[in-house]
Symmetry: C2
Subunit: 254 residues, 2 copies
């Protein structure tokens, strides 16, 4: 059973999320159907990040064990062929050792959150960005973001349905940059709690609007209480951009 | 009747093109319906570039005469409100003199053509790029592109249904740049013939693949015969990015 590692890109809009569910199509189901067509057997695929409904990926990492030794390029091309016209693509495929596990071997995840910050709503970027038409102070948002760096109890930014054993996480990167009409939020950690990125972005927006000070972010964090955080930012603006393995840098697209 | 100039962005995918037609929804019709809702009267809008079905815009310029003197920001906000959820947005609105005409005052148009050049098909960029999975020699394509610069009879790159009086055009810019997995083609001219950009891109692809030499481009141009050019590239990859007025630079997004 040779193991393959796949770098996967998808538009999250039409999916119930990464994970197979009864109430709609998932990215996992699309990939597993394609694998079944390639090798004639039902096979499970495993992802580094179980993204929510509507969340996109440019650098999701997946592994799968195939019953036969296919050339890696054949795996990539065949899966892409069988997934058409679903908006999921295998960008790279490579054979890896049996010790590699997309989720459990991962030592870092990178996300991008895109805010469209202009008076006009998105046209070309509908369902790809969070549209915030009001003036936002990016410098203040970065000040607030710095209060979240490091090892903390992130209960304030954790969804009630989060299944992690512990709310303790180490946030390595959280920076906001204005790029044209957009504010791009880049964040990295070994792992994140459920909704952590969207809850941090939704809270930083309050700082950008001047409703909160950067210190209010530190106070909210210290409260360890979800009701003391800001609202959850929508899924549309969120992209899983890369996964790191070992001590090196994140994967290609991050 | 105060005149307003609008900078308009749209996703061309769901439209029959800029121009009002009987066989489906057009960007013009979406804008005109929104104007009618704002001012209670049927009013025509005029665009700098009458883009084809499926062609996108980040920098289309439109003018419209309104029966009343509205603040420019009200015009932008009201039109955006009434166009929801169509993927059309008025990015800027400003009042201009009666002498301004979006089409006839324009002295330059800029287009971007996006080619996704990788083995995997697009996922997030479906209907936003032309997917070409084979290896392409961008240097050779740029060599070929240079053969098209200047004042020429562009009949080889002109759609049979083109309504221009003359096939003579002056091509000011045509450059190809590799940006990650993409090849971005940027082109500028006072005006273009119908399908000229798509026909030039479809022909340069032959050079990229090594089927044509850069000199074959010069020979095709000299033939002044559409049957001597390459195929028409699809609409999906094409974006009207800016319109120039007077002697200055193109509009904001170009």
């Amino acid at each position: 059973m040779p193991r393959y590692r796949l770098l996967v890109e998808y538009d999250g809009t039409p999916f119930v999320g990464w994970q197979r569910q009864d109430n709609g199509d998932s990215v996992q189901a699309v990939l597993e159907r394609a694998v079944a067509r390639l090798c004639g057997e039902a096979v499970n695929v495993y992802a580094a990040g179980r993204t929510d409904a509507g969340v996109h990926a440019t650098g999701q990492v997946v592994h799968v064990d195939l019953p036969k030794d296919y050339p890696a390029d054949t795996v990539r091309n065949a899966l892409n062929y069988h997934m058409k016209p679903k908006p999921v693509a295998v960008v790279l495929a490579e054979q890896v050792s049996d010790e590699f596990h997309a989720r459990f071997s991962a030592t870092g995840r990178s996300y991008l959150y895109r805010i469209l910050n202009r008076r006009a709503p998105p046209a070309l970027e509908q369902r790809r960005v969070w549209w915030l038409p009001m003036a936002l102070d990016v410098e203040a948002m970065n000040e607030g973001a710095r209060r979240l760096l490091g090892h903390h109890d992130f209960s304030t930014f954790r969804a009630s349905e989060c299944q992690a054993n512990s709310p303790m996480k180490t946030l390595d990167v959280l920076t906001l940059t204005r790029v044209g009409d957009e504010i791009q939020v880049v964040t990295e950690a070994r792992s994140f709690l459920h909704h952590q990125v969207r809850n941090m972005v939704g809270t930083l927006r309050l700082v950008g609007e001047g409703k909160w000070s950067p210190d209010d972010i530190a106070r909210a964090l210290a409260a360890k209480d979800r009701t003391k955080g800001g609202p959850t930012a929508p899924a549309d603006g969120l992209y899983l951009t890369g996964v790191r393995y070992g001590a090196g840098k994140s994967d290609p697209t991050s």
